[in-house]
């Protein structure tokens, strides 16, 4: 028996999303069981059934969690943080006016 991971598409045009997994002795029964678990109530229009052993795993924090601040690379760098920076700049400008 081996573990198969199942992905499903809920409606045409939608993404394939992880649904869960199952145990099966071979690919043919894995397809049958995937259908039973994730497709017999019209909840899917397509399934991908993948042996877990075929999945390439990557969880190295050096690759996935860089240590330096890269907040400027994130959209939040332009929406949330820019507001704070703007507020600082304004208050600095106001302080400059008082000097005239």
């Amino acid at each position: 028996m081996q573990v198969y991971e199942v992905f499903r598409r809920e409606r045409e045009g939608g993404p394939m999303q992880h649904a869960g997994n199952l145990l099966a002795p071979d690919a043919e029964l894995a397809r049958h069981y995937a259908r039973e678990f994730y497709g017999r109530r019209q909840e899917s229009v397509r399934l991908w059934i993948v042996p877990r052993s075929a999945i390439l795993d990557l969880d190295d924090p050096d690759l996935l969690q860089p240590p330096f601040d890269r907040s400027f690379k994130k959209p939040a760098g332009y929406s949330t943080e820019i507001k704070a920076k703007l507020a600082t700049a304004r208050s600095r400008a106001d302080a400059g006016k008082g000097d005239e």
């Binding site: 043919e28 029964l29 049958h32 069981y33 259908r35 039973e36 678990f37 017999r40």
Partner: protein, 257 residues
């Protein structure tokens, strides 16, 4: 073709066919649901219970067709008869026994039923053709699943193979009854309700099955069966199952759900 234009003998034969098919599906569904919780692995537990549930659903649709044709209530047809009143093939008088036995029975039943549904797909009785079209879509998966299991048991070592072969040997004469015991099937064929008489459907079923059984080294069908195919005499095992599936209804027949 609607119910109004059927001549009485054809209509009677059609009612007999509908009742036989509905009872086949209903009783098989109840037997196979007995595996819920105790199938070989969890995944198969879900799969086999789902097949069983499909059959009860098919029975419901067929009882409804019969009620539309002859009057009456589908629930009353399903649960309101004594054991002798059921018309299922005697293949379904056996208990679930072991896994190989239940697989052998379902394989023989599903392949025979597929031949029967093929003969009804273009039925001149349109309400039946409509239900059959839906049943065939679900039966596609039943057939795939049962072929997969028979293949695995037949080639999966000495014990599963021996159990499967013994079950088939025992079940073959009763399996022939799935495509037998329908009175007036020749009239139904003449009227276009059924594509051909049951004997021809049976030959077509066996012609498709025999090469596969030979390839797997499994028992071939006997030349013929003898004895009554569809009751009224029933096994103690069926009587036990009847007690089970009518228990709730008998406790309060007037209850509204």
């Amino acid at each position: 073709m609607s119910a109004q234009v059927l001549e009485t003998p054809v209509r009677t034969a059609l009612a007999g066919l509908l009742l036989a098919m509905a009872d086949d599906e209903f009783v098989l569904g109840f037997w196979d649901s007995e595996w819920t919780g105790i199938a070989p692995v969890l995944e198969e537990d879900v799969a086999f219970a789902s097949l069983a549930q499909d059959e009860v659903g098919h029975a419901q649709a067929l009882y409804q067709l019969l009620a539309d044709l002859e009057g009456g209530d589908p629930d009353e047809l399903a649960f309101g008869r004594p054991p002798e009143g059921y018309r299922h093939a005697r293949l379904l008088d056996h208990p679930r026994t072991d896994w190989a036995f239940s697989v052998a029975r379902r394989f023989l039943y599903d392949t025979a039923d597929a031949a029967r549904l093929d003969a009804l797909a273009a039925s001149a009785y349109e309400p039946l053709a409509g239900v059959v079209a839906k049943m065939r879509r679900e039966e596609t998966y039943h057939l795939l699943h049962m072929h997969a299991w028979v293949e695995r048991l037949a080639t999966g070592g000495e014990e599963p193979r021996a159990r499967l072969a013994a079950a088939m040997e025992r079940l073959w004469p009763d399996a022939l009854c799935v495509l037998d015991g329908i009175e007036g099937d020749d009239l139904l064929a003449e009227a276009g309700v059924l594509a051909e008489p049951m004997a021809a459907v049976r030959r077509r079923w066996l012609a498709g099955l025999v090469p596969e059984l030979a390839r797997l080294g499994l028992p071939a069908p006997p030349a013929a069966q003898t004895g009554a195919c569809r009751g009224p005499g029933r096994s103690d095992d069926f009587r036990w199952l009847w007690e089970q599936f009518t228990m709730v209804r008998r406790s309060d027949p007037e209850a509204v759900w």
